[in-house]
Every structure is written in structure tokens, then in C-alpha cells.
């Protein structure tokens, strides 16, 4: 994709809706006796791009699920646009889209129908305008040829792009991505970063991205949070990531491959 996606003339988010903020107050979450999130607090401002990083298993996906109301806090509170995220009505008032880590595409229907489901079910526009929206979203993610395919016929990276396209069609006010670039080639990864930044610049979409992609974090994030062992160990602008004070954070961001003293051997002793 040589040219940057032409999001200006796109039909997404033409409905003017004010951006929404997200607050997380003393959030803790346990599964049984296993505490995944430990007393986490931060706020994402309306229209901000917040990038959440952290080792796998640190609870990033669980945190995103709290924001869309798929998980209930054990303690603490999450609000979206000052409404309780755990309440069902919140989704009636705020359009949120979550790009799941594994895509979560509807396997029994085609890619086109996956994208068209939201506007059809919510009766937004006629079939012609839905078609325009869907085809435009597919085009942005270089998926025009996949429209009639089924999810089982797609590669991992394609599924991820379909999931992003499906979220774009929803014209969300709050967009959450769970590792959007993890299975993509570098150019497509850059394209996704551009899309995220463009949506924010032109349409003021509040965005939370879970990602290990340092380029993405450094280039488009307004702020970065790092989650480790269920705690927020870093919160600040991406510029501070160049020289982090915490040695654990430094090792996470710039791991050195040390063949003389490999990490897996350190664990044994």
C-alpha cells in the first residue's frame, strides 16, 4: 500500500459524536485465587491514543475486556464516558469496538457479511450505503479480494485485518485494539499505525492499543502504560521510554540477547 489511506473522504465517523474518556479506578481482578490485575488506576482522555504494553500474560487483554464490559471487576471501577463500563446500557450510549487478539470473526458468514452485520443489525443505512462503507473499509486494509471468502480461508494476518475493518465500519467513538500488528508484515503494521493515528486526528476517536510494537508506540502514542505482573509499572509520554528508570521496564523494552548468560539459564539457578 504505497499511498496513505484516504480516510478524509471515507464514510466512517461522519456522524458527529463527541469523543469519550475512559477511567480506571483501583481496578483489581481475580480468577479464583489468581489475581490478574492489582489495583490499577489511570485515565484515558477523550481523543487520546493510549498504548498499553507489557509481557504476555500480564493481564492486558483482561484489562481491555473490562473496558467493554465483558469482564466484571473484582474490586474498583471502570467508566466509559462517565458511565459504568460493566452496565449493559453503556453500550447503548457509547459505540465501542474491540479488535480481539484472535480476531473473533463470525466463522459461518463471509468476510463481507462480517463487516455488514453491525450496520444491518442496527439498521444504519440501506444496503447500498452499507456496501459502500464495507467496500471502503476492505479497501483501506487491502482486502477487496477477500470479500466473498470465509474466515477459515484466511491467514492469521488477514483475519486480523478483517477484524480491524469490521471495527472501522462500526464508526466507534472508542476503539480498542488487542495486538493489532502482531501477525502483520512491517508495511501492513505501519499502515495500521497510520489508520489509528488518522482516525484520532480527523475524527477524535479515543483509542487504546495493546501492543508490543515499539514503532507503533513511539510514533503514534500520546501516552504509554506498561503492565507487568498485573501492576502498572510505567505511565507517561513515549519520549520517556528511551531511558526508563525501572531496570525491569528497560529490559522489557530493549532486551539484550546475551548468549554468554542466557535468560532461561538464569531462571534455573
Amino acid at each position: 500500500m504505497a499511498t496513505a489511506p484516504d480516510v478524509t473522504r471515507n464514510p466512517f465517523t461522519q456522524t458527529e459524536s463527541p469523543a469519550v474518556g475512559v477511567t480506571i479506578e483501583n481496578l483489581s481482578k481475580s480468577f479464583g485465587t489468581f489475581e490478574v490485575l492489582k489495583d490499577i488506576s489511570f485515565a484515558v482522555k477523550p481523543g487520546e491514543i493510549f498504548v498499553l504494553m507489557g509481557p504476555s500474560g500480564s493481564g492486558k487483554s483482561v484489562l481491555l475486556k473490562h473496558i467493554v464490559g465483558l469482564e466484571m471487576p473484582t474490586a474498583g471501577k471502570v467508566t466509559v464516558d462517565r458511565r459504568d463500563a460493566a452496565a449493559e446500557e453503556t453500550r447503548e450510549h457509547v459505540r465501542m469496538a474491540l479488535v480481539f487478539q484472535a480476531g473473533a470473526l463470525f466463522n459461518s458468514i463471509s468476510v463481507y457479511d462480517n463487516l455488514a452485520l453491525y450496520p444491518r443489525e442496527h439498521r444504519i443505512g440501506n444496503e447500498a450505503s452499507i456496501r459502500e462503507k464495507v467496500m471502503h473499509a476492505l479497501q483501506i486494509l487491502s482486502l477487496e479480494n477477500a470479500a466473498q471468502k470465509f474466515p477459515s480461508e484466511l491467514s492469521g494476518g488477514m483475519k486480523k485485518r478483517v477484524a480491524i475493518a469490521r471495527a472501522l465500519v462500526m464508526e466507534p467513538q472508542l476503539m480498542l485494539y488487542d495486538e493489532p500488528t502482531s501477525e502483520l508484515d512491517p508495511v501492513m503494521g505501519a499502515t495500521i499505525s497510520e489508520i489509528i493515528a488518522t482516525l484520532k486526528d480527523q475524527y477524535h476517536v479515543t483509542t487504546i492499543v495493546v501492543s508490543h510494537d515499539r514503532d507503533l508506540a513511539l510514533n503514534i502514542a500520546d501516552r504509554v502504560g506498561i503492565l507487568m505482573g498485573g501492576r502498572l509499572v510505567f505511565l507517561g509520554p513515549p519520549s520517556e521510554l528511551h531511558e526508563p528508570k525501572d531496570p525491569k521496564v528497560a529490559d522489557f523494552l530493549h532486551p539484550k540477547i546475551d548468549l554468554q548468560n542466557p535468560r532461561f539459564k538464569q531462571l534455573e539457578t
Binding site: G69, R91, M96, A97, A102, A104, S108, L117
Partner: protein, 250 residues
């Protein structure tokens, strides 16, 4: 104690699912395509096997009746015996059992896989109620199709009985005599009772199978476990309901 708890919980959530589905009934016209698709699926997957099984059940009923009645000279009642047994009991129960095995298991497998692969979560975040889109059209289709299947089962079963009655040498009753007996002791009420039973069983089976599918937790292995549980629960439910509905309709 925990098991009792599970049973009560399952019972409660199934009833809740029924009420929520009824609440979404007004969206049926707009989901007409899905409804028709489910009707087709129920009919298409169960009709052949319903026909084959009811033919043989009707046949074996006539055979057994003829065998035990030959010494009493009561052979002319074979038609009524086959007619009543099919209409009041065996037709509805057989349709419900086949529905559980063919349609119910498929419903649970599909919904459980949607749950495990987060498709249900995706629907929830898109503010599309899974019950409206996935459960209500299936229930409505069952309500329409199950009585149709039960009527077909009755007709084929009666017909099977007639053929056996004619061509078995220790019975040899001609079809006109067989059907005359069938009509003589059977009232419309008997057939209607059977259809009501079929309707209750069909609704129960689809509800249970949807509920177990939607409440699946864990990974792919749990999909199989859910299907087994859905079919076993459905079979128990059919036989328990059979007693109570029969009693209530007496």
C-alpha cells in the same frame, strides 16, 4: 449438593432464556431469513430419519399387537392400538428424541464454538444481543416445525402398521378394516394431545441446547463436553416432561 445447585442453576437460566427470547419476538419479521433458514435446517436434517423410524415403529407395533392378540380374536383392534400409541406417545417422543440428536447437538456445537472462539463476546461488544440473533429464530422455527414433524411421524407410522397388518400371514387385515379401527377409537383430542406434547418437548430441547451452548466456558475440548451434556439433558428432560404433560392433559 453441588450437583443439585448446578441443576437448579441450569433450570433457572433456561427459564430466563425462554423469557428473554419471548421478549425478542417482535424482531422476528426482520429476522425472517434466519427463521426460514432454521425451519429448513430442522426439516431437512430430521425429516428423512423421522420418516424411516416412524415407519418401523408403526410396523413393529402392528406386529407385536397382532402376535399377542391372535389368540384372543382381537385382531380387528390393531388399527386403534397403532393409531393411539403413535399419536399419543411414540410419535411426539420419537420426534423429540431425534430433534435432540440431530438438531439440538448441532445447535449446542455451533453456539459453544461461537462462545469459545469469542464470537459471542464480539456480538456483545457490537451491542447485538446474542439471544435475539441466535436463540429466538431457532426457538420460533422449532415451534413451527416440530408439530409438522409429529404429524408426518403419525401418518407414516399408521401407514407402516397398515402394511404389516396386511402382509403378515398370522394377521392379514386389509387396510380399509385397519383404518376403520384406527378411526373408530381415536378422537381428534388424541392427536391434538400428542402435538401439544411434541411442541413442549421441541421447545424444551432447543432451549436446553441453546442454553448449554451459550454457557460453555474454556477451550475446544469443552465444545464436545457441552454437546454430550446437551443431548443427555434433553433426553432426560423429554422423558420427565412426558410424564407431567401426559398427566396434565388427561
Amino acid at each position: 449438593m453441588r450437583q443439585l445447585n448446578n441443576i437448579l442453576e441450569g433450570f433457572g437460566s433456561t427459564i430466563l432464556l425462554l423469557f428473554r427470547s419471548i421478549g425478542y419476538l417482535p424482531s422476528l419479521p426482520r429476522q425472517f431469513g434466519r427463521f426460514v433458514e432454521q425451519c429448513y435446517l430442522i426439516g431437512y436434517t430430521t425429516l428423512p430419519i423421522v420418516a424411516i423410524l416412524s415407519f418401523f415403529i408403526g410396523s413393529v407395533l402392528a406386529l407385536q399387537a397382532g402376535y399377542s392378540m391372535q389368540n384372543f380374536g382381537a385382531k380387528q383392534f390393531i388399527g386403534s392400538l397403532v393409531g393411539l400409541s403413535m399419536a399419543r406417545e411414540l410419535g411426539p417422543v420419537m420426534v423429540a428424541i431425534l430433534l435432540a440428536g440431530r438438531v439440538g447437538s448441532a445447535i449446542t456445537a455451533e453456539l459453544a464454538s461461537m462462545k469459545v472462539y469469542q464470537e459471542i463476546d464480539a456480538l456483545v461488544t457490537m451491542n447485538i444481543p446474542p439471544v435475539r440473533m441466535l436463540v429466538m429464530p431457532r426457538l420460533a422455527a422449532a415451534v413451527v416445525m416440530v408439530p409438522v414433524l409429529a404429524i408426518i411421524a403419525n401418518l407414516v407410522g399408521w401407514f407402516g402398521g397398515a402394511i404389516v397388518s396386511k402382509y403378515t400371514n398370522f394377521i392379514s387385515i386389509d387396510p380399509p378394516a385397519y383404518f376403520a379401527a384406527l378411526r373408530r377409537f381415536m378422537e381428534f383430542k388424541d392427536v391434538a394431545n400428542g402435538l401439544i406434547k411434541a411442541e413442549v418437548f421441541g421447545l424444551g430441547v432447543v432451549l436446553v441446547c441453546c442454553n448449554i451452548g451459550l454457557n460453555t466456558r474454556g477451550g475446544p475440548r469443552e465444545i464436545g463436553a457441552s454437546v454430550t451434556r446437551a443431548v443427555v439433558t434433553s433426553l432426560i428432560l423429554i422423558l420427565v416432561l412426558d410424564y407431567f404433560v401426559t398427566k396434565a392433559l388427561m
